[in-house]
C-alpha cells in the first residue's frame, strides 16, 4: 500500500501511479488470495434496499463461479463500501479503490450523482468503473474506463412503446415517470417512440422519488382522458400508483417499464396490479437456460424468495466481471481492454451479452411482454385485457 503511495507522492503524477499498480500486481498474482472487486453502493440511507439486493445477486453469482472453478483457480471476491449513494462518499471510496492495488475493477455506484461524481477519479486512476445500473446517457461518456450493462433507455423504451401502442392498441397515453435522470430520459425516449407508432401523448407527469400520494396526479390523468397509463417507475412507486389509480376509479390499461419487475410489485400492489402489462428481461417461466439457472439458484439460496430486476442486474454484473477478469487477468488496463473482447457472456438480461465498443454498453436486451394474471407475472397471451 505505502509502496505505491510513496511513488505517487514524489511526482504526484498519474502515470507513476499506474506503473506502481502494475508493479504491485505482479507480486500479487502469485498469491492464493481472491481477486478483489470493489463495490461502491448504498447499504444505508434512502436507497439501502438496492444495495441489499445487489449483495444477493453478487453472492449467488460468486457461488456459481466458484463452483465452476473460479477464475483460473483463484477465487473472486468483492469489497462492498457503503456510499449511501452520496457523491461525497463515492468519491472518497473511489480514491480508496484506486489506491488499493488489490482492487482490479469497481462496480457501482447506484445513483447517477454518486457514480458520475466518482467517474473522473476512476478514469484518471485507470480503474474500470462498471456501472451496471447507470442508465444516465452520459455515464459512459466519462471516459474509456466507464462501462455499463445497464440497458440503454434508447433501446428499452421503444420496446415498451411498441408493446403499448402496437400490441395493446393504446392510442392516447398518459405517462407517469419518476422525475430523475433515469425517469426523464426514459420518458423522452418513450414519448418519441410512441408518437412514431402513432399514439398521442395526452399528459406526462413527473413525480419525485419520495412521493406516495398520487390521487391528485391521477385526477389530472383522468381529465386528460387517456386510454392507457404508462408507468416509468420502480416497483414500489409503480405499485402505489396502480393501487391509487384503481382506488380513484381509473380503469384504463396500465403498462409499466421493466423496472417494476419484482415480486415486491405484486406484494405491494395486491389486486390493483392485476392486468398490469410490463416489459421485462425475463419471466419466471422463461425457458432460457441462464434464466432458469438464475431463478432456481436464487430461490434455493434465499429460502424460496423470488428474484427481482436488481437481483438480476447484480447477478449479471458479477458474471460479466468474472468473464472480463478471465480475459484481462488482474491488470487494470488489461481489464479495461477485456471489456471490448468479451463475447456472448451468458446473461439473464441480454441472453448473450457483448459490449458495443463505441458506446461501452450492451445492446439487445431481452424483452418479454408480461401481464399480471392472478397475482403472477405471466407471458402475455395476446388477448386484450
Amino acid at each position: 500500500m505505502s509502496n505505491i503511495d510513496r511513488r505517487t507522492l514524489v511526482k504526484g503524477s498519474l502515470a507513476a501511479m499506474m506503473a506502481g499498480t502494475a508493479f504491485s500486481r505482479a507480486a500479487l498474482a502469485q498469491s492464493a488470495e481472491p481477486i478483489l472487486l470493489g463495490v461502491s453502493g448504498p447499504l444505508t440511507g434512502p436507497n439501502a434496499q438496492y444495495g441489499a439486493q445487489w449483495k444477493q445477486g453478487f453472492d449467488l453469482a460468486l457461488d456459481e463461479i466458484h463452483a465452476a472453478g473460479g477464475i483460473n483457480g483463484r477465487k473472486l471476491a468483492y469489497q462492498f463500501e457503503d456510499s449511501q449513494s452520496d457523491p461525497r462518499q463515492s468519491v472518497a471510496i473511489a480514491q480508496k479503490f484506486v489506491s488499493d492495488p488489490r482492487i482490479v475493477m469497481e462496480l457501482g455506484d447506484f445513483s447517477s450523482p454518486a457514480s458520475m461524481a466518482a467517474s473522473p477519479i476512476y478514469q484518471r486512476g485507470g480503474l474500470v468503473q462498471f456501472g451496471f445500473t447507470n442508465s444516465h446517457p452520459d455515464f459512459t461518456k466519462g471516459g474509456d474506463f466507464m462501462w455499463s450493462t445497464s440497458v440503454s433507455q434508447a433501446d428499452e423504451q421503444p420496446l415498451l412503446a411498441s408493446y403499448a401502442v402496437r400490441r395493446l392498441g393504446l392510442k392516447k397515453l398518459a405517462v407517469l415517470h419518476l422525475n430523475t435522470d433515469w425517469g426523464r430520459t426514459s420518458r423522452d425516449h418513450f414519448v418519441k417512440a410512441a408518437k412514431e407508432y402513432g399514439a398521442e401523448i395526452a399528459v406526462t407527469e413527473g413525480y419525485i422519488a419520495e412521493e406516495r400520494d398520487f390521487r391528485s396526479t391521477l385526477v389530472r390523468v383522468r381529465d386528460a382522458s387517456p386510454d392507457g397509463l404508462i408507468l416509468i417507475s420502480y416497483y414500489s412507486d409503480g405499485a402505489l400508483i396502480a393501487r391509487q389509480a384503481r382506488q380513484v376509479g381509473l380503469k384504463q390499461t396500465i403498462c409499466a417499464a421493466s423496472s417494476v419487475y419484482s415480486p415486491k410489485f405484486l406484494e405491494l400492489g395486491g389486486e390493483a396490479v392485476e392486468d398490469v402489462h410490463l416489459g421485462t428481461r425475463y419471466f419466471p417461466q422463461d425457458p432460457r437456460p441462464e434464466v432458469r439457472k438464475f431463478i432456481e439458484g436464487f430461490k434455493a439460496k434465499y429460502n424460496g424468495q423470488e428474484p427481482d430486476a436488481f437481483n438480476a442486474y447484480s447477478y449479471d454484473a458479477m458474471n460479466m466481471a468474472a468473464a472480463v477478469v478471465k480475459i484481462g487477468g488482474t491488470d487494470r488496463r488489461a481489464i479495461r481492454d477485456a471489456f471490448a473482447k468479451v463475447k456472448d457472456v451468458s446473461s439473464v438480461i441480454f441472453g448473450q451479452a457483448t459490449f458495443d465498443v463505441e458506446s461501452r454498453r450492451v445492446k439487445g436486451a431481452m424483452n418479454a411482454e408480461l401481464v399480471v394474471r392472478k397475482g403472477q407475472f405471466t407471458l402475455w397471451d395476446g388477448k386484450p385485457t
Binding site: L43, Q95, K96, S119, D223, Q247
Partner: protein, 607 residues
C-alpha cells in the same frame, strides 16, 4: 367543476395523513418548545410494529392499534427519559440536535432489524369503496380521518377537562409556576411524549396500511410534512396543527391541479414561507409581543470558548499543508478534501447560525446555487474554472441572501423551519427549471478544476487547492469577527431588540452575514461541482444541511476553528466506522447523541 371537487377531497385526505404526525409534533412543541425531529422515526417504528402484529401475529385491527400505540408510547418514553431529559438545562439547541440524532438511531435500528426492502402492510379493513365525486374513498380514508379528528378531539377534551391535561397546559405556559402548583413536570413531559409517540406510531401504521407499503425512507418525509403542517397552524397548537395539515394537503392538491405533479412540494414549502412571513407564529397563534427582558440570545448560552494558541493553529495548518508529501493514501486525501469542502460550508453556517444566531437548516441550497452557477458558467460560457467558482460564490452570496431574507424577521425555531423550507424550494426550482438547470438530468461533463491554465486533477493538487481556499476563507472570517461587523453580528444575536435600539439594522447586518457566508458556501459548491463533474438536484440535499449544522454545533457556534475541527470529525467518523458497514450510521448517531449530551456547547465552545 367536478375535478375541483376531487382535488379538494384528495387534498383533505392527504391532509388527514399529515395531521396524524402534526398533532404529535404540536403536542410536544406545546410543552417542550421543541420540534421533535424524531417524530417521523416513531411513525416508522409504529409502521413496522404494525407489520409484525398484522403479518406475523395476525392480530385483529383493534388489537393491532393497541399494540402499536403501546409499543410506540414506550419508545417515546425512552426517548424522553434518556435522550431529552438529561438535556433539560443545556442550551436550547441541544435537544433539537438530540432529536435528530435519535431519529438516525431509530431509523437505522429499524433498517437493520427489518432490512431496507419495502414491505406490504395489508389493510385489515374490508375493501369496500364509496363513490365520492369522481373518485372513491375507502374505509381506511375514513379511519384515518376518524383517528385524526378523534385524537384531536380527545386531546382537546384531555387538555380541557382532565387533571393531567391541565397540568400539561399549565406546564406549557409556565414550567416553574406549574411546579409550584405541585405539577411534576417530568411526569407531564413523559405523558406528552408517550401520547405523541403513541399517536405517531398508530399513524405510521395506518398510513402504511393506506399505501399497503412501508419502508425505512418514510421517516424523514413524514417529519418534514408534519413540521410544515404544524408550523403553518401555529407551533404548539393542536387544533391548529389539524387545520394546518388540511390546508397543506389542499395547497398541494391544488398545486398539482394547476401546475403539475412535480410542483407539488414547491407549493407546500412556499405555503410555509408565506405563512411565516405574514404571520410569524403561524395562523392560529396570536402574534406575541416582544420577548421579555432580559433576552440573551435565543439559542446561545454563555460559554467559555477554548482558546487555541496561534502557534498551535499554525503548526496544525503546516502539518496539513505538507501532508500530501508523506505517504498517505489518496483515500485519506480525498476524505480530507471532503472535510475541507464541508469546512467551507461550516464556516458559512457558523457565521450565520453561530455568530449571527440565524440557525439555518437550508444551507445546502447555497452549495447548490454556487455549484450550478459555476458549472453553467464554465460549460456554457466557457468562463475559466477559477473565475467560474468565484462567480458561483458571488451568485450564492447574492441570490442566497435574497432568498433567505424572508427569514430575517423571524426568531428561534422559526428561522430554522423557514430556511429548511427555502432550501427545499431551491432544490425543487432546480428540478423544475429545466431550461437552465437541465432538470432531473443534471449537468454532466463539468470541466475539472483548473487554476491559471493548469489542471488540478491529482488528489494532492485538489487537496492543496481546497485546503488553501478554506484557510483563506477562515482567515477572512476570523478577520471579519474581529472587526466592528463581528461585534455587530454578535450583538444582534444576543439581543436583537437592544441592537436595533442602537442603530443596527437587522436586515442590513443579517444580509451582510449571509453575503459573506453565502460566498464561502457557494465557493464550496463550485469546487465540488468541478470535482464531481456531474451534479443534479439531489447532489446537495437536506442531509447536507443537517450535517453542516451538526458540524457547527459540535465545533461550537460561531467558532471558526471549531467549524473546521467539526468538519474533519464528522467527515472522518463515518469513514472510520466504515468497517462497521451497515452499522456505521447507527454508531455515528450514537456518537452524536453522546457529544450533545456531554458537550452541548461544542467541542471548542461558543464564541
Amino acid at each position: 367543476m367536478s375535478s375541483w371537487f376531487d382535488y379538494t377531497i384528495n387534498g383533505l385526505i392527504i391532509g388527514n395523513v399529515y395531521a396524524l404526525v402534526a398533532v404529535g409534533l404540536a403536542l410536544i412543541f406545546g410543552v417542550s418548545r421543541l420540534i421533535n425531529f424524531a417524530q417521523g422515526s416513531i411513525y416508522l417504528v409504529g409502521a413496522y410494529i404494525g407489520w409484525v402484529a398484522v403479518v406475523r401475529l395476525h392480530t385483529p385491527l383493534p388489537l393491532t392499534i393497541i399494540v402499536v400505540a403501546a409499543a410506540a408510547a414506550l419508545v417515546g418514553l425512552v426517548i424522553e427519559r434518556f435522550g431529552l431529559r438529561p438535556l433539560q438545562n443545556s442550551v436550547r439547541i441541544a435537544p433539537l440536535l438530540a432529536t435528530i440524532g435519535i431519529s438516525f438511531v431509530l431509523d437505522q435500528l429499524v433498517m437493520l432489524t427489518f432490512s431496507p426492502n419495502p414491505r406490504a402492510l395489508p389493510s385489515q379493513l374490508p375493501d369496500v369503496r364509496f363513490q365520492l365525486g369522481g373518485g372513491t374513498i375507502g374505509p381506511l380514508d375514513l379511519l384515518i380521518a376518524g383517528v385524526g379528528i378523534t385524537s384531536a378531539l380527545l386531546l382537546f377534551v384531555f387538555l380541557r377537562y382532565s387533571k393531567l391535561g391541565w397540568a400539561v397546559r399549565a406546564a406549557s405556559q409556565d414550567r416553574d409556576a406549574a411546579m409550584q402548583m405541585g405539577v411534576d413536570v417530568n411526569r407531564v413531559n413523559q405523558a406528552v411524549f408517550g401520547i405523541a409517540a403513541a399517536l405517531g406510531g398508530v399513524s405510521g401504521m395506518l398510513v402504511g396500511m393506506y399505501y399497503n407499503q412501508i419502508d425505512t425512507a418514510m421517516s424523514l418525509q413524514a417529519t418534514l410534512k408534519g413540521v410544515v403542517a404544524e408550523v403553518v397552524g401555529g407551533a404548539g397548537n393542536v387544533p391548529g396543527a389539524v387545520i394546518g395539515s388540511l390546508l397543506l394537503g389542499l395547497v398541494e392538491s391544488y398545486g398539482v391541479a394547476v401546475f403539475g405533479t412535480s410542483y407539488r412540494n414547491l407549493f407546500a414549502f412556499l405555503l410555509l414561507v408565506v405563512v411565516l412571513v405574514l404571520r410569524p407564529n403561524g395562523l392560529f397563534i396570536s402574534p406575541r409581543q416582544a420577548p421579555p427582558e432580559p433576552l440573551t440570545g435565543t439559542f446561545i448560552a454563555p460559554s467559555r470558548p477554548l482558546r487555541i494558541p496561534r502557534w498551535a493553529l499554525a503548526v496544525a495548518g503546516a502539518i496539513f499543508a505538507v501532508l500530501p508529501l508523506f505517504p498517505v493514501s489518496f483515500y485519506v486525501l480525498q476524505t480530507l478534501i471532503n472535510a475541507w469542502l464541508l469546512g467551507m460550508l461550516a464556516l458559512s453556517l457558523t457565521l450565520v447560525a453561530g455568530t449571527m444566531g440565524q440557525v439555518s437548516l437550508g444551507h445546502a441550497a447555497l452549495l447548490a446555487i454556487g455549484a450550478y452557477t459555476s458549472a453553467l458558467l464554465s460549460l456554457t460560457l466557457n468562463v475559466p474554472v477559477g473565475l467560474a467558482i468565484i462567480g458561483g460564490g458571488l451568485m450564492s452570496a447574492a441570490l442566497g441572501t435574497l432568498l433567505i431574507s424572508p427569514s430575517f424577521r423571524l426568531r428561534g425555531h422559526y428561522v430554522s423551519i423557514a430556511t429548511l423550507a427555502i432550501g427545499e424550494i431551491v432544490a425543487l426550482v432546480i428540478l423544475n427549471w429545466e431550461s437552465v438547470t437541465r432538470g432531473p438530468i443534471g449537468i454532466s461533463g463539468i470541466p475539472p478544476l483548473t487554476l491559471f491554465g493548469y489542471d488540478l486533477i491529482s488528489p494532492s493538487s485538489v487537496y492543496w487547492f481546497s485546503l488553501a481556499v478554506m484557510v483563506v476563507l477562515a482567515l477572512l472570517q476570523g478577520r471579519l469577527l474581529t472587526s466592528h461587523l463581528g461585534r455587530s453580528f454578535r450583538a444582534i444575536r444576543d439581543d436583537d431588540i437592544a441592537a436595533r435600539a442602537y442603530g443596527l439594522s437587522l436586515n442590513r447586518y443579517k444580509s451582510l452575514a449571509f453575503i459573506f457566508g453565502g460566498f464561502a458556501a457557494g465557493v464550496s459548491g463550485g469546487i465540488a461541482a468541478h470535482l464531481y463533474s456531474y451534479i443534479n438536484h439531489e447532489t446537495f440535499n437536506t442531509q447536507q444541511s443537517i450535517l453542516a449544522l451538526t458540524v457547527v454545533i459540535l465545533g461550537g457556534l460561531g467558532n471558526v476553528v471549531g467549524a473546521i475541527v467539526g468538519s474533519v470529525a464528522l467527515v472522518g467518523l463515518p469513514e472510520v466506522f466504515r468497517i462497521a458497514a451497515e452499522y456505521r450510521i447507527l454508531i455515528y448517531g450514537i456518537v452524536l447523541l453522546l457529544l450533545v449530551r456531554f458537550r452541548p456547547q461544542g467541542l471548542l465552545g461558543t464564541i
